[in-house]
């Protein structure tokens, strides 16, 4: 078994393992072990990847494997990773690992819960290792659909409505995607050769200009829906608010990244002319996303809504940076995906813990939590600071790379957009501090809260995993940034070629 396929196989084995367990205890144990292995494997993958590059392998993708699947459609099971995929895999395994520990006390139907959760994650892993658009799409759908049950069954609040809305909107996105994928597929052999779904092969040819212009919006919006692109983001607040903790973590932390990843790996990489020509339109949308999400977050009362809108803003920044189409900004976009993935997962984990204790998510019903549950509160502050871009935490690295990179764009319009987007960091500070101020500081509002217990060991595992990752990236971003930068070269070159 090759190193990459294991990333799909291990979750499947874990799911099978869970089937043989009887109760929560067994299920969570198996999940934790399985996802722990997954985490170790992703570290291993990282080191192997670095070693491979050190050894002078300059191929676009490494560890590639290709097995024919549907011969007549030329569908292959094609896998391979570059630095970006490795980074995303790292992110996923960290978040999933933390997610398992966050749902340590799932009482209702625990086995089913963990199976769905891991099914979701296996879809995400599969997505990141795929080089074939068909398998990529298959894994994409596989990752999206367990959300329905996860939210509908284990969620809270208006969960049925939210779950349905989320599923339908994301499926709407994937409906657009299919059209785009087919469009690319049928133009993947301009000289009459074999049609292909393989991203690398398509990237070697140029799809006719009009075709690009026609299909680009479908692909971009299709992925953009999952990336919470304005105005297709409305599934996000409701969905996150209703989802159980681990699902919010995985969804905001990892699943939304599929959107951004797809945007550049498929839409922009394969349709560079259209990306160059239509970029401005989406740039406006993303700029709106960034500012709008941040403003939207200010007014919210519900912790999860705040974080959901914040995610809209942060994920908007990802696509924003991608559309700047230079190496630095795209580097920043990937960093932002990772950074946002980690910190938003942390946020949702914390919100889950707070909700589990206080049974409310309305910030005005809480207050002074710093005094009663200091560990959680401190981590909340750290997450907040990461979110508002404090140096030394991952958010800063990502945001600054984005802003500097975007500002290098030769066009004034792009630079003005950069300034507008940058202004969101102030608004972010406002809503983060507002929450921190109301929620954690001040006197304890509800006397019942005086007896709350601070974090348990499994919650600490979850939190510490994420905090450590955030801090490591925040302190020493260079290695990660370089892995990503090297891998961006082909994409940026292709985009630049199209621009001329």
């Amino acid at each position: 078994m090759d190193i990459l396929s294991l990333f799909v196989v291990v979750p499947i084995l874990t799911m099978i393992g869970i089937l043989f367990t009887k109760d929560l205890k067994g299920a969570r144990m198996v999940s934790a072990i399985g996802m722990g292995i997954q985490l170790l494997m992703s570290f291993n993958l990282l080191f192997q990847y670095i070693a491979e590059r050190k050894a002078g392998n300059t191929a676009e993708m490494v560890f590639t494997k290709s097995y024919v699947w549907f011969q007549s459609f030329n569908i292959h099971y094609d896998i391979g990773v570059d630095g970006i995929a490795v980074a995303m895999i790292m992110l996923t395994s960290i978040v999933v690992f933390a997610g398992v520990f966050s749902s340590w006390m799932t009482k209702e139907l625990p086995r089913e819960f963990f199976i769905s959760l891991i099914l979701l994650s296996s879809g995400v892993f599969g997505f990141f290792i795929s080089l074939d658009m068909f398998t990529m799409f298959l894994f994409y759908e596989l990752a999206v659909i367990p959300m329905y049950l996860l939210i509908g069954l284990w969620g809270s609040g208006n969960k049925e409505y939210s779950a349905m809305k989320l599923t339908l909107m994301l499926m709407g996105g994937s409906a657009l995607l299919i059209l785009g994928l087919l469009g690319i597929y049928f133009h993947s052999a301009p000289d009459g050769g074999q049609l292909t779904f393989n991203i690398l092969e398509i990237s070697k040819i140029t799809i006719p200009h009009d075709t690009q212009m026609f299909f680009f919006p479908f692909l971009f919006v299709g992925f953009g829906v999952l990336g919470a692109l304005f105005p297709f983001h409305t599934w996000s607040p409701d969905g996150h608010a209703s989802a159980p903790t681990a699902v919010s973590m995985l969804h905001a932390g990892v699943l939304m990244k599929l959107g951004g990843y797809g945007c550049f790996r498929v839409a922009m990489f394969l349709l560079p002319d259209a990306a160059q020509e239509m970029g401005w339109l989406f740039l406006i949308l993303t700029t709106v996303s960034v500012v709008y999400g941040a403003f939207g977050a200010i007014w919210q009362k519900d912790l999860k809504y705040i974080n959901a809108y914040s995610s809209v803003s942060h994920c908007g920044l990802v696509i924003f940076a991608l559309l700047m189409m230079n190496k630095t900004s795209m580097d920043g976009a990937i960093l932002q995906m990772i950074s946002h993935g980690l910190m938003t997962a942390l946020f949702f984990a914390l919100i889950g813990m707070i909700y589990g204790r206080t049974h409310t998510r309305n910030i005005f019903e809480m207050g002074g939590l710093m005094k009663v549950i200091p560990f959680i509160s401190v981590v909340y502050v750290i997450a907040g600071l990461a979110s508002l871009g404090l140096p030394g935490l991952s958010g800063f690295v990502a945001e600054m790379t984005i802003f500097v990179g975007s500002f290098q764009h030769a066009d004034t319009f792009h630079r003005v957009c950069t300034i507008l987007a940058a202004s969101a960091i102030v608004i972010t500070a406002v809503y983060i501090l507002r929450v921190v101020g109301i929620l954690l500081f001040g006197p304890v509002k509800n006397p019942e809260f005086n007896h709350l217990e601070d974090a348990t060991w499994f919650e600490k595992v979850s939190m510490i995993t994420l905090v450590v990752s955030i801090v490591i990236i925040g302190f020493a971003p260079l290695w990660l940034s370089e892995i990503i930068r090297d891998s961006l070269t082909p994409i940026v070159e292709r985009l630049a070629l199209a621009g001329n």
């Binding site: 011969q71 659909i145 349905m164 059209l179 597929y185």
Partner: protein, 474 residues
């Protein structure tokens, strides 16, 4: 024509043999011995199915009235598989006391309709086609009215019969016009004689089209579907929705590809409109249903719209995707109907709201139904995803992008209602959920086969490749 060449009719002959044997068994047994009929029928049919898979030569009989090709044989095999599953699934219902006495009728009539379908698929001229069509339709009306003591069943029977009489009348009128303008009823000769877009021939084609659309239940020729599906016994409904529809789609495709080659632009345009109407209206109606059978009826109407996406391309890929999709559709829909029939056989309940909270009591059945619905909705990893994706691919290959887009938008609507039973089973709470019951082994087997098929076929690319190697385009 040697005697051996009759072996080209092997499917039909074996099936006929089975029917005759069943008839003999029926005659030769008294009331207390009737319980052997069912096992006998199933075993005979299983043998027939296995025999069907044996290698077969291509060729034609009776001066081209009867054709056997690999793709035709494949289609028959697919139908056989479906019927076998249906037989297993109807076991419990058939062995209920009130049905004991008419068990052999059920099998004989059912097999006869299948025989009709086989002839229809193999037909090389319109006469054979017509005979097959009627054999496949008229007994079905009798089966729909099988539950003699239910109003709905009788109503379903009469509705099916009268509607089909009207539609076959119109179809026949079309055939007579074709005969009038070309002087032949042989497919090969007719397609040669078409010269251009003669109004009367276009009209004839549309008449023919509508007759077939009736069988596949395409909008606006679909209106009988829901009522008949709801009224007929579950097994018959599932038979109607997969086997009858599948066979009609096969033959429809073959005739369009061979006979009406020349009119391709005409029927493509018509089909575009009908596909859009079918998917949309099917979905819109399905949204509001509570009766499971009726719900699945509208779902199957919408699915028929998707099938058109493959036919419309007119390529070998298109044909292969349609056959492949129908194969998957048979498994998926039969999984769904399997669960529904088990539930209705054991508890008599058949509405979506009855499913509330069922996961807690009957987790396995709930999971089976969920998987089936996911497959129908086209969600991986179950096979429906592959089927649908390939249909879209086939349509996109000929640049029907707008149609594909509309179909894709329809999948969103369809996802909504496919999730409704899932929601009912997993999420909704119920005061009195369907109590736990133990399913008998035969029903389990029927369900298991269809579920395994549904899960495996998507990943099994050789199946598709094999089908494709038999297919032909315009």
């Amino acid at each position: 024509m040697s005697f051996e060449s009759l072996l080209l009719m092997r499917h039909e002959l074996v099936l006929l043999l089975a029917i005759v044997l069943l008839l003999i068994a029926e005659i030769g047994t008294n009331d207390s011995q009737k319980s052997i009929i069912s096992p006998l029928a199933i075993i005979l049919f299983a043998l027939h199915t296995i025999v069907g898979f044996l290698p077969l030569q291509e060729g034609s009989l009776f001066g081209g009235m009867f054709n056997t090709t690999n793709i035709v044989a494949t289609m028959k095999n697919i139908l056989n598989l479906g019927v076998l599953i249906i037989l297993l699934q109807s076991w419990k219902w058939l062995n209920a006391t009130e049905n004991r006495v008419k068990v052999s009728e059920f099998y004989i009539v059912l097999f006869s309709t299948l025989l009709g379908m086989f002839y229809m698929i193999s037909a090389g001229d319109f006469l054979m086609f017509y005979i097959g069509l009627e054999i496949a339709t008229i007994p079905l009306a009798a089966l729909a009215a099988f539950n003699r003591h239910e109003n709905k069943s009788a109503e379903a029977g009469i509705k099916l019969l009268l509607s089909s009489a009207l539609s076959s009348g119109i179809l026949l009128y079309g055939i007579s016009m074709i005969y009038g303008t070309t002087g032949s009823i042989y497919f090969a000769e007719i397609s040669q004689s078409f010269k251009g877009f003669e109004p009367i021939q276009v009209m004839a084609m549309i008449f023919f089209f509508s007759g077939m659309a009736f069988k596949i239940s395409l909008v606006p020729f679909h209106l009988w579907t829901a009522d008949v599906y709801e009224g007929a016994p579950v097994s018959i409904t599932s038979y109607l929705s997969v086997i009858s529809k599948g066979a009609a789609a096969f033959v429809f495709m073959i005739i369009l590809f061979t006979v009406f080659k020349l009119f391709t632009p005409v029927w493509q345009d018509m089909m575009t409109a009908i596909a859009i109407l079918t998917m949309t209206i099917g979905n819109l109606f399905a949204l509001r249903q509570n009766n499971l059978k009726r719900y699945l009826a509208f779902s199957s109407i919408a699915q028929a719209g998707f099938i058109l996406l493959g036919i419309i391309s007119g390529t070998a890929t298109g044909m292969a995707t349609v056959v492949y999709f129908i194969l998957i559709y048979i498994f998926s829909n039969l999984s769904a109907f399997g669960v529904v029939s088990i539930i209705s056989a054991y508890t008599g309940k058949d509405s979506i709201s009855d499913l509330n909270g069922m996961y807690k009591t009957n987790p396995k059945l709930s999971l089976a139904l969920t998987l089936a619905l996911f497959s129908l909705a086209g969600i991986p990893p179950v096979a429906g995803f592959f089927g649908k994706f390939f249909l879209f691919t086939a349509a996109a290959e000929k640049d029907f992008y707008i149609l594909v887009l509309i179909a894709l938008l329809n999948t969103i609507v369809s996802l909504y209602y496919y999730l409704m039973p899932v929601k009912a089973m997993f999420i909704n709470k119920s005061e009195s959920p369907i109590a736990y019951f133990k399913t008998d082994k035969i029903s389990q087997l029927g369900l298991a086969i269809s579920i395994i098929g549904m899960v495996v076929i998507g990943f099994a690319s050789p199946v598709y490749e094999k089908i494709l190697s038999f297919c032909f385009g315009i």
